[in-house]
């Protein structure tokens, strides 16, 4: 019984970790740049497809495709930011939502045209498959790997935003664009880089997620609710907020499905409502 419980918590934390990797980019763009980017999942999908193409067409091993997924999504993000997103920074949130949802549908049609509507395969290296037996528990190797990745990403991002000059520039640009520009910060360049970073993280999440979430052209729409959930509950603009939110949601989702499968998929939404009532601005949110 206790063993079951620990297993459920472990699976939940791993699932939450994956949600976090995919959603953190959205927290960055939405919280720091104040842009409601519903097309976030499209960038995750770009990363996923980049990883799959590298694997199936060029025989690149799985781990090596992850940086590629990050870079490709970041580049696509940077290009789109320059061409499209930049025009809408000052637009109303409704315009941003309409624009980005349009991008979602275009990305779905585009992916269907290029890759077809089927699920894409992923070949994990042997050491990430199966389970490891630890202290009498069976733990999925890939899930352990996901948790490790999340710890690394959290540390790097926190350091980047809170300790570096670039992080300071982001925070300054967000708080007051005019003053920042007056102080010699190239606000547009900062936003470009931030957007590319957010997109890249999405792409990384897309690549990591293929094994658990699958990858097909409807990806951006199918998981949009989850990205938004994590950012809404966690509070946009922070790194720890979405981390805590993703872990809580992951654990409750898995526990709900395990203990009460009849209503399992519903539990996550109950948790969301309860948490939003308790913390309307998100667990550690800066903005409403």
């Amino acid at each position: 019984m206790i063993g079951n419980f620990v297993g459920v918590v472990f699976d939940g934390v791993a699932y939450g970790s994956l949600l976090f990797v995919i959603s953190i980019g959205l927290s960055v763009t939405m919280g720091l740049m104040n842009f409601v980017n519903l097309a976030h999942g499209a960038f995750a999908m770009v990363g996923g497809y980049a990883a799959v193409v590298m694997m199936t067409r060029f025989g690149v091993p799985f781990l090596a495709t992850l940086p590629v997924a990050f870079v490709v999504s970041a580049l696509v993000g940077a290009v789109l930011e320059r061409l499209l997103y930049r025009r809408l920074y000052r637009a109303s949130h409704l315009d941003q939502v309409l624009f980005s949802i349009g991008l979602v549908f275009m990305s779905i049609a585009g992916a269907t045209y290029v890759f077809g509507s089927q699920q894409q395969p992923v070949q994990l290296p042997a050491f990430l498959r199966g389970q490891v037996h630890l202290l009498g528990l069976d733990l999925g190797s890939y899930r352990l790997f996901l948790i490790a990745i999340v710890i690394a990403i959290t540390l790097i991002l926190t350091w980047l935003v809170e300790r570096t000059r670039f992080g300071a520039a982001i925070r300054a640009s967000v708080d007051n664009q005019q003053a920042s520009a007056g102080l010699g910060i190239d606000v547009y360049r900062v936003f470009s880089l931030t957007f590319a970073l957010g997109s890249g993280l999405a792409g990384l999440g897309g690549g990591l997620g293929i094994d658990v979430l699958g990858l097909d052209p409807t990806f951006p729409l199918k998981y949009m609710v989850y990205f938004l959930l994590v950012v809404a509950v966690g509070g946009a603009g922070t790194i720890k907020g979405p981390l805590i939110a993703a872990l809580i949601l992951g654990v409750f989702d898995v526990a709900g499905k395990y203990y009460v499968p009849q209503i399992g998929s519903f539990v996550i939404y109950v948790v969301m409502v309860a948490m939003l009532l308790a913390f309307p601005r998100g667990v550690l949110g800066k903005r409403g």
């Binding site: 699932y15 269907t112 089927q118 658990v212 199918k222 898995v254 009849q262």
Partner: protein, 394 residues
């Protein structure tokens, strides 16, 4: 001189008479207008693979058997309904009214077939169902004839096989949608009637990102087998988690219907499918000369794409249309064509099959298969079968 001929009244009249005679001549001489078949399939959208397989199979049938039958030239009019019922209905109407098709065919999903059924009845146009698998479909119009399969037809044999092979306790895991619930109902009914125990019936939400918790629950319940029915695409996730969590090592068998190991994507799914036992009416590895030739020709004509169960629906549908035309001497009369199809039997790449003369539904052998790796590819190898299975609800 030509102009003056046409401009005189007598000249004009005689020209008119001559051309009228010329027009009526072919009718008398060959009595054959082209045989127009309106093929409505989802060729884009989430069910595009269904349409792709069926269209390829229909074209292959024509390529292998000639494009004339009973003296009529076969004209295939292919339309994309994107998988939405309103579109299917609109296209069917256009095909009937404008293109004056002799036969409607295709129908990738149940709602698409149901939406078109009243039109077939009204226009007295035979409607050959090549994919949709809900039991009730042929009851919706006397002009519907089905060559694909029904869900209970291929599900029940799995329960039969489990009962005979010392599987006593089963957990079912189905996606929470129409076909999933039907599969659960059929399996649970037959299995418990035969003395088996259903430990638990789990329904996973249709939009399900992670099967891990459900499968952990299954593992802890320690059944003899897990029966799975999920939409195409989710099967991979289930089988992967099944393998990763060591359910197989814990002595649990993974059983289900053959669509979870769809031949079209079986190779891409790869290793996690090994050892999965399914019941189905078609495997690309079916050991017969007809099938071997079929698979070879299909893959050659389609850039290496492996034919799946959808494809044989298309292929056999075309076969049934050809044979009905031969039997009726090239008729365009819907009632005669359907009458010719009733009771027809033939050997398909899938094996022997026939059309039940009363229900107009398919009767066929259902095979029990296991996924194995041969020559670097994954195949569902048949090792047992139930002969002449009808839809159990009919």
């Amino acid at each position: 001189m030509r102009y003056s001929f046409m401009t005189t009244r007598r000249g004009f009249l005689s020209a008119l008479a001559a051309s009228a005679a010329a027009l009526s001549l072919p009718r008398l001489a060959w009595a054959a207008e082209p045989l127009k078949i309106g093929l409505i399939l989802p060729l884009t959208g989430p069910f595009a693979s269904t349409g792709r397989q069926i269209e390829a199979a229909c074209r292959l049938y024509i390529a292998r058997n000639g494009d004339t039958v009973a003296g009529r030239k076969v004209e295939l009019i292919v339309k994309d309904d994107t998988g939405s019922p309103e579109t299917t209905k609109r296209i069917a109407q256009e095909l009937i009214v404008q293109n004056k098709v002799d036969i409607l065919a295709g129908f990738g999903l149940t709602p698409l077939a149901l939406a078109t059924a009243p039109l077939a009845t009204e226009a007295k146009v035979p409607m050959v169902v090549m994919a949709a698998a809900t039991s009730i479909i042929p009851t919706r119009s006397p002009f519907i004839v089905r060559v694909s399969m029904t869900l209970p037809q291929i599900t029940q044999p799995m329960a039969e096989w489990a009962l005979k092979n010392n599987i006593k306790r089963v957990v079912t895991l189905v996606a929470d949608y129409g076909p999933g619930l039907d599969a659960e109902k059929t399996f649970v009914k037959r299995f418990t009637e035969g003395g088996g125990t259903i430990v638990e019936s789990i329904r996973s939400p249709l939009q399900n990102p992670d099967f891990a918790p459900f499968l952990q629950r299954v593992k802890d319940a320690k059944p003899d087998a897990l029966f799975v029915f999920v939409p195409s695409g989710q099967g991979t996730a289930v089988m992967k988690q099944f393998a990763e969590r060591g359910l197989g090592e814990a002595g649990i068998k993974l059983i289900g219907t053959g669509d979870v190991v769809d031949d079209d994507i079986l190779d891409a799914m790869g290793e996690p499918t090994l050892g999965v036992i399914t019941s189905f009416h078609y495997s690309a590895a079916h050991p017969s000369a007809e099938n071997k030739a079929y698979v070879e020709a299909f893959m050659k004509a389609n850039n290496g794409m492996r034919p799946n169960f959808m494809s044989v629906g298309g292929y056999d549908g075309m076969h049934m249309i050809y044979e009905a035309e031969k039997k009726t001497g090239g008729s365009s009369d819907g009632e005669k064509i359907v009458a010719a199809m009733k009771g027809m039997s033939w050997v398909s790449p899938r094996g022997p099959m026939s059309i039940d003369p009363t229900t107009r539904d398919v009767v066929q052998d259902v095979y029990i298969r296991k996924v194995e790796k041969k020559d670097g590819h994954y195949w569902s190898i048949e090792f047992d079968k139930l002969e002449k299975v009808k839809d159990p609800s009919s």
